[in-house]
């Protein structure tokens, strides 16, 4: 027997991730969604806007920037209307996507995680294993959290590159990520993903089929995505301090939800009872 204390939660998470990697039919659509939101759509829009040479259209874009709050307008870089519009688009309007996409990915993975064990019958193996219910819960949480974060950071990296390559030369060099974006990615995004996962894992432990888990998760995560979208936008417009406060509140909510949800993962539920 090993002398090192076993890290069963990580073992469970790693095995789930290995299975996810094998399930190409599952993750490919999620990668396409992430690609669309982080690369294709912003890239296409920024490319078009930065190359506008029609005076009338350029004026209209300047007007759009003029509708933004004064504080934001002061921070917008660029000399011409199209450049200012592309800067505002890159820094302020696409921000909520950084939350929506990882939430979608983590929700899709999380909804299957416990009910999947039960449907495959492999829940019986876990129920008879030395892993505690807490370790199983944490393992499943990590297995759903990691793909969401990975999507967020890879997508964030790609998005940063595109924004800097397309808009950077017109505003005097690389400008992205801004301070607000760092707060969003490192402080506001994580608790929202955890909050969603806490609810989804609780559902996954209780329902009787994967289809039911997906349906119920969609019902739960849709309002949460809308809230996250508003919060992300708000934190971008209102500055770093607001992001800090919103993030702190979200962390509190996430911690409470995670503790509550951990009680729903029980051995007998892995066996298909008490669902």
């Amino acid at each position: 027997m090993s002398t090192r204390p076993p890290n069963r939660a990580w073992t469970i998470a790693r095995t789930d991730l290995r299975q996810l990697r094998q399930a190409r039919d599952f993750w490919m659509p999620l990668v396409i969604i992430a690609g669309l939101f982080f690369v294709v759509i912003p890239g296409f829009l920024l490319l078009i806007i930065t190359r506008v040479d029609n005076i009338e259209l350029a004026q209209q874009l300047s007007d759009v920037v003029g509708t933004l709050p004064t504080k934001i307008q002061e921070n917008v870089k660029g000399e011409t209307g199209p450049v200012q519009a592309s800067y505002a688009l890159a820094v302020y309007l696409f921000a909520p996507l950084a939350i929506v996409v990882p939430l979608t990915v983590s929700s899709a993975v999380g909804a299957n995680t416990i009910i999947g064990e039960r449907e495959r019958g492999s829940g019986e193996f876990l129920a008879h294993s030395p892993a505690s219910e807490r370790e199983i819960y944490v393992g499943k949480l990590l297995a759903a959290l990691i793909p969401g974060y990975l999507t967020a950071f890879v997508g964030f990296g790609c998005y940063s590159l595109i924004v800097n390559l397309l808009v950077g030369p017109k505003v005097g060099g690389w400008f992205f990520p801004t301070t607000s974006w760092w707060w969003l990615m490192l402080w506001v995004l994580p608790p929202f993903i955890m909050l969603a996962l806490a609810m989804i894992l609780a559902i996954s432990a209780r329902v009787s089929s994967a289809a039911a888990a997906q349906q119920s998760s969609a019902l739960v995560t849709l309002p949460l995505i809308l809230i996250a979208y508003s919060v992300a936008s708000g934190s971008m417009y209102s500055g770093s301090m607001v992001a800090v406060v919103i993030g702190a509140l979200a962390w509190l909510g996430a911690a409470f939800a995670l503790v509550r949800a951990s009680r729903t993962v029980r051995r007998e539920r892995l066996l298909g009872m008490g669902a």
Binding site: S2, T3, P6, Q19, A127, H128, S129, P130
Partner: protein, 306 residues
């Protein structure tokens, strides 16, 4: 012998159904205990209770002196190997990764794990299939992988739930071979089955369950003595009608002839007397075969009486 499992007055209900209803069980080390019973008798629930996967509503269970559904549950489960009725494998993973997962969860040391995996896979004839995804395995291969997984961490207690259901003869033989080996190594084995033939010759103790309650338990010899007293002898002769004369002998309890004659005697000691009497009556015997009742016969006798 030390007691591995002790259960007293265990009750477990699911809604209105009493899956286990007053179970008493005592299982020593180095023994093979067979839980017999029809579908729905509560066998699977008993296995789940023994590992702490389920907790009893009423009653006490100790395994290795610990409560499996209490704080020591992880220690109990680490010493148990379970082969569930469904193999419960991860189809998207390779056979190797399935075994590695089990090894890591059951705390097999990382440095010995690859060797253990190879050994366990070789033991059940699936070494070459290890790199393949389990989703491509046949039913027999899946069962063998489940067996390899159950013994990978060298458990002290092996629990098998209908282990040979749906298996090809070779895989079924592998299961029965494993049970023999485990018992020889001094480990305890509990096997649930409704297939009486496979329990025959393996069981040190038989527990007959019905609707979650223990109908009867004991060694096959004890059950034979209790439910199948006396000796049955099958006879045949060149002129079978000569055999009919023994029906009236004082030590003959029962006689019937349908092709061959079947005689029930009070004790095995009277077999020579029976042969003497037949030879004295001029019978030229072609068959004298004292029979030990099969587990199946005993089981149905128990069921008919209870």
């Amino acid at each position: 012998m030390d007691t591995v499992i002790s259960a007293r007055g265990v009750v477990r209900t699911f809604g209105d159904t009493r899956a286990v209803d007053g179970l008493d069980l005592g299982i020593p080390t180095g023994s093979v205990t067979v839980l017999l019973g029809p579908n729905g008798a509560g066998k699977t629930t008993v296995v789940r209770l023994l590992t702490g996967a389920l907790a009893p509503d009423v009653g006490d269970i100790t395994v290795f002196g610990m409560n499996p559904s209490g704080p020591d549950g992880a220690q109990v489960r680490r010493r148990c190997g379970v082969v569930p009725a469904r193999p419960a494998l991860y189809d998207r993973l390779s056979g190797y990764d399935n075994l590695r997962y089990a090894g890591e969860l059951f705390e097999v040391a990382a440095e010995t794990l690859p060797e253990r995996i190879e050994h366990a896979a070789a033991r059940f004839g699936i070494l070459e299939a290890l790199p393949k995804r389990v989703g491509t395995y046949s039913t027999g291969m899946r069962a063998r992988l489940a067996l390899a997984r159950a013994v990978l961490h060298e458990p002290d207690l092996l629990l098998l739930d209908e282990p040979t259901a749906g298996l090809d003869p070779e895989s079924a033989r592998a299961v029965l071979g494993l049970i023999d080996e485990m018992a020889e190594e001094g480990k305890a084995v509990v096997m649930c089955t409704h297939l009486l033939l496979e329990a025959e010759g393996l069981a040190d103790k038989v527990v007959v369950l019905d609707r979650g309650a223990t109908l009867v338990s004991g060694s096959p010899a004890e059950l034979t003595e209790r439910f199948w007293p006396g000796t049955r002898v099958v006879l045949d002769a060149e002129q079978p009608t000569v055999l009919d004369g023994i029906a009236d002998l004082p030590f003959v309890r029962g006689y019937s002839r349908n092709g061959v004659a079947t005689v029930d005697l009070a004790t095995a000691d009277t077999v020579p007397d029976l042969v003497d009497a037949l030879v004295g009556a001029g019978a030229r015997l072609t068959r004298v075969e004292p029979q030990t009742p099969s587990l199946e016969q005993i089981y149905f006798e128990i069921r008919s009486r209870t």
